[in-house]
Amino acid sequence: MCKEIKISLPLYKIACALFFITILSLIRGVSVSYEVGIAIEPAMAILAAAFCSDTYVQEITGRRSEVWHLYPMKKRLRSVGMRLLIQELFLLLLAAAGYGLFFLFQRPLLYGVMHPETFSEIRQFFVYLGAMAVTLAFWSVFANTISCIFRNLWFGMGGSLLLWILTTSAFAQRTFGPRNVFSYTYRNAEDAGDFRWLAGKGICIALCAAMLLLLPTLLKKRG
């Protein structure tokens, strides 16, 4: 576990991620508390893709893949899975810290204080964490999958960026609605009781599971 942490979370990645969330919380304007999650989710998605696109392909760039090829598939999958999990947990912690930084730097209006009967800030935070966990899992697994297919981390990043542009566009909002992978961002944030956006997160989980099921084949054929 300790070695996986050292491999998947080198100092430069941690520093870049901390810098990223700090800058985001300083420059992305929010006025009301429910906008904080909306401001963070798409940005964290692209950070997760950049962060995780080298999860496996670092074995190719480090010319270790031919040695990895000899290891039992179960061990290889476990190792890649651990790396993804470690990175995701780190990013989730970062997302939680980023949520706090927005409140610290921008002091948005607390919607829950204005409407205590319909809106709870604490509940809003935990819903945000849940949505963020799914978003981070989807984008990290997606970037790793594309990188593995093309055996190149830049394809992982580039492919993720293309999907990100598509899914954050007005076209995607109109076409996919609550089934968009960014359904949490594009939900009616003022209505805390509206959970139609969960459909989008469900799709994220399904796609994530499908990509993880594809991983053994990818490691075998493209590893």
């Binding site: 050292k6 480090g62 010319r63 270790r64 031919e66 040695v67 990895w68 090829h69 000899l70 190792s79």
Partner: protein
């Protein structure tokens, strides 16, 4: 443990044939693999490590045929050191080897025991707490070799294991490999002919995807017996003429003039004497005659 290669052909998608209908038997012990750049050595090793599937032909490892269904069984018996490998720069030597040992499925206590043994054998014990990025090229190479030895494979494939090592370390590594090859098969690919001369009894020479030679070192040396000549020339212009006329395997400036080793089937028309054949002479003779 013996490896049998029959009619092996590897053709890439760009239609380049890296190995062309090659046959070879690799017996127990250290087996040398020599050849110029692009001869097909690395491709052969990639086939033997199951990374690359042959286009044609068969390979068997102790009777087990190289086939997707058998790969798992074969992979368990192989250790591999590629020509270039960049081991985890952020991990220490000990951590890196423990990590790779765990991936290979070796239990923790056994893995630690083997790491300690091989670190001692390769004079790396005092460097075990250093990060991989802090090591010299030769030290990294030795760590790479240890990772290939960790699961004590029945078939060890090593590509240029002595690159970057000083003479003393090279001898140490060669001796380690000789000890390791007892009852095991080691395929030792290198450009350093003297490494093979010091370790192998059997070797194969590759050229353009074919095996030019496969057999004992002694027989290869015998092929060039009587065709290696040595002469001493004082005039550099004359020495250059000889170099143009004959295949010269070594040239050395000495106090008494320029000493040349000439490969020729007939006695060169200068004052020279026949000398004993080295593996390097035999290799060059094989490539050119």
């Amino acid at each position: 443990m013996s490896i049998q290669i029959n009619n092996l052909t590897v053709t890439f998608q760009n239609k380049v044939t890296a190995i062309d209908h090659a046959d070879l038997e690799i017996p127990t012990g250290i087996f040398g693999l020599l050849g110029e750049n692009g001869a097909g050595k690395t491709t052969l090793m990639r086939v033997l490590t199951t990374t690359l599937a042959p286009t044609e032909g068969t390979v068997t490892l102790d009777g087990i045929q190289y086939h997707e269904n058998n790969y798992e069984m074969i992979q368990k018996q192989i250790g591999y050191l590629p020509q270039e490998i960049d081991l985890y720069p952020g991990l220490t030597v000990q951590e890196c080897l423990e990590y790779m040992g765990a991936l290979a499925g070796i239990s923790k206590p056994l893995c630690r025991e083997r790491i300690q043994y091989y670190l001692e054998k390769t004079s790396l014990t005092e460097h075990r707490k250093k990060k991989m990025k802090q090591l010299s090229g030769g030290m990294k190479r030795r760590v790479g070799l240890i990772q290939a030895l960790l699961n004590e494979p029945a078939f060890l494939i090593i590509d240029e294991p002595t690159t970057g090592l000083d003479p003393e370390e090279r001898i140490r590594i060669r001796n380690l490999l000789v000890d390791f090859s007892e009852k095991r098969t080691v395929l030792f690919s290198t450009h350093v002919v003297e490494d093979l001369a010091a370790t192998c009894n059997q070797l194969a020479v590759m050229k353009k995807g074919h095996f030019l030679y496969s057999g004992s070192v002694q027989d290869l040396l015998s092929n060039a017996e009587g065709y290696v000549w040595e002469c001493k020339i004082e005039d550099p212009v004359k020495a250059r003429d000889i170099e143009q006329k004959y295949r010269v395997s070594s040239k050395q400036y000495t106090e008494g003039g320029i000493r040349l080793r000439i490969l020729s089937r007939v006695k060169p028309g200068i004052d020279c004497r026949p000398v004993s054949v080295t593996l390097e002479d035999a290799y060059i003779y094989l490539h050119n005659y």
